[in-house]
Amino acid sequence: MTAVEQEPAKSPPAPPARRERRLGSVEVLAVLLVALVVFRGPIAALVSDPRWQTWTTVFVSVMVQATPFLVFGVLLSAVIAVFVPRSFWARALPRHPALAVPVASAAGVVLPGCECGSVPIAGSLIRRGVTPAAALAFLLSAPAVNPIVLASTAVAFPKNPEMVVARAGASLVVAMVMGWLWLRLGRPEWIRLPHRPDLDDTSKWRAFWSACRHDVIHAGGFLVLGAMAAATINVVVPGRWLQALADNPWLSVVALGVLAVLLSICSEADAFVAASLSQFSLTARLAFLVVGPMVDLKLMSMQAGVFGRRFAVRFAPTTFVVGVAVAAIVGSVWL
């Protein structure tokens, strides 16, 4: 153990006073890692139960699946935060916030990412002076209506091409409604972006990598929380519970909305899951597809981390209600 604790001494001298005050996090980390390697056997034995094993598999796979998208989102968000001048957004978006909302929603169409990446991007946009209403509309629309998601929806529903149109339409409507609702009812103090002096660093590249490091650690940590919740739901809730709900047309719409929140599946994959929920009506499955990319456990966790808890407790439930309502209306008119 002593060898491990001495390791940081190899790095150039830091102020000794701080070293004495408390154990540094590098030391904690080193001890933790050594302990993990030593107790590898008992840990592996703990997860040999099929329930735990499935939990671990789902948890690890959600994290592995999300990492490339998180990294892509973090890189783009760091570019926005460091290299794109504020004046660009003033020129790119309509001056009036009410007009900026639909433009931002439509802009989500071109970004091929899933929801994990769009949270840090929206945070950066607000930081760079984009009106929150437009940034939030973008946050909701980008993972729901991008080309990859729409293509996978078309593949998953080969007999119902109208699902693609309904999904794109309903998602855009929800994003715009939420943007406009924010303009009317939202309060700026609900959004609390963390103080980040490092973004104004004199060296752009230092600021860029600092933003990447911070966002991966921060948003990634909240992603872990969400992935743990999603894995738990996956293991605990058996599929036969759903069967009972499928027969009631109204209840089924709400039920699949809730299921989308709980399962927290990536928006690029949710269409295939929706297609396999064949006992439900198309309208209920549309609710699953509209709500999923906008509200789910890992998103709520990440939003609370990036925008603050006061924001998340208001924004997520409202989005859920608007999402289910719009999906029900579009579904009953169109499908």
Partner: protein, 237 residues
């Protein structure tokens, strides 16, 4: 959590992702097509870690006083050790019989309306999904008179029957859904759940309904079977 600790976590996460995607480990969790993106993400994470350490070192050498060092840094980042632990130390297996038993067979109508004849060969190797779709949606027309071989893992049924299943993956294991085929005739008995089996047999009219979602499960009249190793990619897509 200070910057060096964050750099170490980034390095571990990037390293774990790289190790999983450069070996076959990633196939247990995600689709094959994600591989280049995983490698790219791993490289970015490792680079971010190195750049963090580099700037940190230079700052120390320049003896710049750091005010924000160690303060207000996200504590939640510690949780990122969990996926690292999961990938490097535990490396859980691909989704198997427990998950397959919990969700209904994902065979859905309308995937295909006209089925092309089976390829040549007797017995002919088909996927579990292909066999099940031909059996249920084509009423076994393209299967009659042919011997087929399917490979999957065993799920013991509630009343002694044996099912062969394969998980379908759309994106990652969280959305894995099973396709189940019942085994009759010379069916393997007494095998533990999750044992991989290659079964050869003929189409039969026997059907069952999945107790989870009520969908149809077709059967295969087995003439011979053998136990096989777990394949590299356990999922069908």
């Amino acid at each position: 959590m200070n910057r060096q600790a964050q750099a170490v976590i980034l390095l571990l996460l990037g390293g774990a992702i790289l190790r999983a995607s450069l070996s076959d480990l990633y196939l247990r969790y995600v689709k094959e097509g994600l591989r280049p993106f995983l490698i790219g993400a791993g490289i970015v994470l490792v680079t971010a870690s190195i750049m963090t350490l580099w700037y940190d070192l230079r700052q120390r050498l320049d003896a710049v006083t750091e005010h924000d060092h160690g303060h207000h840094e996200p504590r939640v980042g510690w949780l990122l050790l969990l996926p690292v632990l999961g990938l490097l130390l535990v490396a859980p297996p691909a989704m198997g019989s427990f998950a397959a038993g919990q969700s209904g067979t994902a065979l859905r109508n309308g995937q295909q309306s006209d089925f092309t004849p089976l390829p040549a060969g007797d017995p002919v190797e088909v996927t579990v999904l292909d066999y099940a779709s031909r059996a249920v949606f084509d009423d076994g027309r393209s299967l009659t008179g042919r011997e087929v071989t399917i490979t999957g893992f065993v799920i013991p049924g509630a009343s002694g029957e044996v099912y062969l299943a394969r998980m379908m993956l759309a994106c990652c294991a969280a959305d894995a859904r099973p396709i189940k085929v019942g085994l009759t005739g010379d069916a393997p008995g007494g095998l533990a759940a999750d044992t991989w089996v290659r079964a050869t047999g003929r189409y039969t009219l026997r059907r069952a309904n999945d107790t989870v979602n009520g969908e149809t499960i077709p059967f295969l009249d087995v003439t011979s079977w053998q136990q096989v190793d777990t394949p590299k990619n356990t999922y069908e897509s």
